[in-house]
């Protein structure tokens, strides 16, 4: 298993790439808030696109679209599929 090399930040995914959420680094409130929206470890997540200057990320998760701020997206670790 070379899982370590596949673990990257959500912000490092290219447009169109997808993976599974491994962990969210942040305060308890933030992690819970994301969990309430369905973003928990093990969830499949796909980056649709982002704006100019690598701004917020539009993602697909649980069959629906979400926009996550850049700072937030950089706290989510994913395992590249």
């Amino acid at each position: 298993m070379n899982s370590k090399t596949n673990e990257i930040l959500l912000t490092e995914l290219e447009d169109g790439q997808s993976g599974f959420i491994i962990s969210v680094h942040g305060g308890k409130m933030l992690i819970k808030r994301l969990a309430d929206l369905g973003l928990t470890s093990g969830t499949w997540i796909k980056v649709i696109r982002r704006t100019l200057f690598s701004g917020p990320v539009q993602v697909e998760v649980c069959g629906s679209r979400l926009v996550l701020g850049k700072g937030l997206a950089s706290k989510i670790m994913v395992e590249l599929k």
Binding site: K28, A35, D36, P56, C62, G63, V67
Partner: protein, 643 residues
């Protein structure tokens, strides 16, 4: 009417679930919009008369969970547990079932009679999503009804179910968590049984394990010993799972939702990329997205302003006739003049509301209902972050270009107090339609259109700078954008009309009383003959520092009522609308700069007052007056080199 014929229901659901459409369809014109006691959060209530029954409908705020992130969430759960409505109708977006179910699971924990409305089932079908709602009904042990709220389909079936539920008592389904959590809940439930709180025991236990701030405090006051046990149980959980206990529970709930979704949802992938996908790709693209945004917003402002100027001019001629009628029939006594100034204030309000704000809102809500507004937030998030707020703040700015009043009101969509305030302050600097009358009527007409547009660019740069500075000065962490991206859908006329009507009504309610009172006060000062003294008093600023005629002191005072009065009264004073006779280009630009920034108009001040208290409202006014005077004086001196 007997008591048994009265039913009280609550609508709950996440944003974009079509909850408002359900509310509007059910209650129609029998709506009442107020505030939650002591809060600046809207409370929407309405009544429905159905087969002898009087059904009170309450529309809870659109929220994503029932935890204590926001006031809205606390209000919602308190209402459900304390007021004990006969039934909670959970409106669910069928195209986003999994995320919506997390909220449904939280509602179920509140142990209230529940009906699930699978809304927008038509859109789900279009996307190839089939939902086994009978199975869902079994899983959650509550009626599930498919609806298309925008067409009203399925809504009467909900009401029939509500009446049916009222007459039979049903057991609540309990969602089981993992073994370890269930053990903790059991332990706590025993202890909590004898505590007298108006929340379900199991729910209390879950919230304590989730370390809910409010519930922990509440229980701690009644029995502090329980908290020690909670602490111990949480630590055990954390040891086992390696996460905070709150996260463990939220995680399990989320997994349960996805497990249920897997059981009941079948997706047949579409053969080709849908129109929605294509539209989304173009409108949020790195380049075409921004280009389209400029075109759409530019088109919107152009339409509103050209329509507004036309209608406003038409009103002008009519109101002028009314004024002559008033003078001829009521006279020109002191009281007659006061009476007219009160009427004039109301007319002024109409003259802003109908020509500018109404069409502005209509277009805005069409864009929102279509799904475009969320795209703007996405595109602008990066830039907005430099100002210490996130992408949604951009919406308030756009509204502010039409009128600062609804612009400031719309800041309620921001999550934290800090961001609400920063956004509101910045919105007061956005040149509204009244200011644009001055900029284009004075600078655009007599100095050149390029200068007028230059002033707009200048204003935006200043707003950016002010935002950047305030984000550094006002302490607190910036909130990150978390926003669902809705699918594009055909805007519904009914929804747009309702939203426009609500917004317009709110504008009139807030602005009208203060505008009338201040209109009369200024008229009293005028009739008392104090104006020359005031303009003499202000002349060190207006004449010496700004290089403007002394009369501008008075104009600027009247301008607080309505910014464009500065121009209207200047024309009256000069006896001509050809301003180039009296003012040099340099003076025109200086006057326009002062008018743009010097103070929010009374209606805006009244909103700031209501939302943030009088201290903050006054502080904003004083700061902006000083800032505008300083800035315009500097501009004047720089312009010396140009002209």
């Amino acid at each position: 009417m007997t008591d048994g014929k009265k039913i009280n229901i609550v609508l709950a659901g996440q944003g974009n679930s079509g909850k408002s459409a359900v509310f509007n369809y059910l209650t129609g014109l029998h709506q009442h919009i107020g505030n939650w006691a002591g809060k600046t959060i809207e409370k929407r209530e309405g009544t429905l008369f159905y087969n002898d029954y009087t059904i009170d409908v309450l529309d809870l705020p659109g929220i994503y969970s029932l935890t204590t992130y926001s006031v809205e969430e606390v209000i919602s759960r308190e209402y459900i547990t304390h007021q004990k409505p006969d039934c909670v109708i959970n409106i669910v977006d069928s195209t986003n079932l999994e995320r919506n179910l997390i909220f449904t699971l939280q509602l179920m924990e509140l142990e209230c009679p529940l009906i699930l409305a699978l809304n927008m089932i038509d859109l789900a079908k279009k996307k190839g999503i089939t939902i086994d709602f009978k199975k869902l009904q079994k899983i959650i042990n509550a009626p599930v009804i498919t609806t298309v709220a925008s067409r009203g389909s399925g809504l009467t079936r909900i009401i029939d179910k509500v009446i049916e539920l009222k007459n039979e008592k049903k057991d609540h389904k309990i969602n089981k968590y993992g073994r370890e959590i269930e053990y903790c809940i059991e332990q706590l439930s025993v202890l909590l049984k004898d505590i007298n709180i108006r929340y379900p025991v199991r729910w209390l236990a879950i919230k304590l394990l989730e370390k809910d701030i409010e519930i922990t405090k509440l229980v701690g006051e009644l029995d502090p010993e329980i908290l020690d046990i909670v602490k111990q149980l949480c630590e055990n959980l954390e040891e086992m799972h390696g996460h905070d206990s709150a996260v463990v529970i939220a995680d399990e709930r989320s997994h349960l939702a996805s497990q249920i979704t897997r059981e009941i949802v079948k997706i047949t992938p579409g053969r080709k990329i849908s129109l929605n996908e294509k539209l989304d790709a173009v409108t949020t693209h790195k380049f075409t997205g921004y280009l389209l945004m400029i075109l759409i917003l530019g088109g919107m402002f152009y339409t509103v302003f050209s329509f507004g100027n036309w209608l406003s001019g038409w009103f002008d001629t009519i109101f002028k006739d009314w004024h002559s009628w008033w003078i001829n029939n009521v006279g020109i006594t002191f009281f007659a003049a006061m009476g007219w100034s009160a009427i004039e204030s109301v007319l002024a309000l109409i003259q802003i509301a109908l020509p500018y704000i109404l069409p502005f809102y209509i277009i805005l809500y069409v864009l929102e209902d279509w799904g475009y507004i969320a795209r703007i937030s996405f595109l602008m998030d990066n830039l907005m972050h430099k100002m210490g707020i996130h992408g949604k703040g951009c919406i308030s700015f756009i509204i502010g270009f039409g009128c600062n009043v609804p612009g400031c009101l719309s800041c309620r969509i921001m999550e934290s107090k800090r961001e609400r305030f920063i956004t509101a302050v910045l919105v007061t600097l956005v040149p509204c339609s009244a200011v644009s009358v001055i900029v284009f009527g004075l600078v655009g007409k007599y100095v050149g259109l390029a200068w007028a547009f230059g002033l707009y660019v200048f204003a935006m740069a200043l707003i950016f700078l002010a935002g950047w500075i305030s984000s550094k000065l006002i302490i607190g962490e910036p909130v990150e954008l978390i926003m669902p991206m809705p699918d594009y859908k055909t805007p519904q006329l009914k929804t747009v009309i309702y939203q426009t009507w609500d917004a317009l009504k709110e504008f009139v309610y807030i602005a009208a009383p203060i505008v009338v009172i201040l209109g009369v006060v200024i008229q009293v000062i005028n009739l008392a003959g104090w104006m020359p003294a005031i303009s003499a008093f202000l002349s060190p600023v207006t004449v010496t520092w700004l290089g403007l005629p002394a009369i501008t002191g008075i104009l600027l005072i009247f301008g607080i009522l309505r910014k464009e009065l500065i121009l209207v009264m200047l024309a009256a004073y000069l006896g001509t609308a050809n301003f180039s006779d009296a003012l040099s280009p340099q003076q025109m630009i200086t006057l326009a700069v002062v008018s743009m920034f010097y103070i929010p108009c009374v209606a805006t001040i009244s909103v700031l007052w209501k939302e943030y208290g009088w201290k903050k409202a006054m502080a904003i006014c004083v700061l902006e007056i000083l800032f505008a005077i300083l800035l315009a004086g500097l501009v004047k001196r720089i312009l010396n080199f140009v002209f």
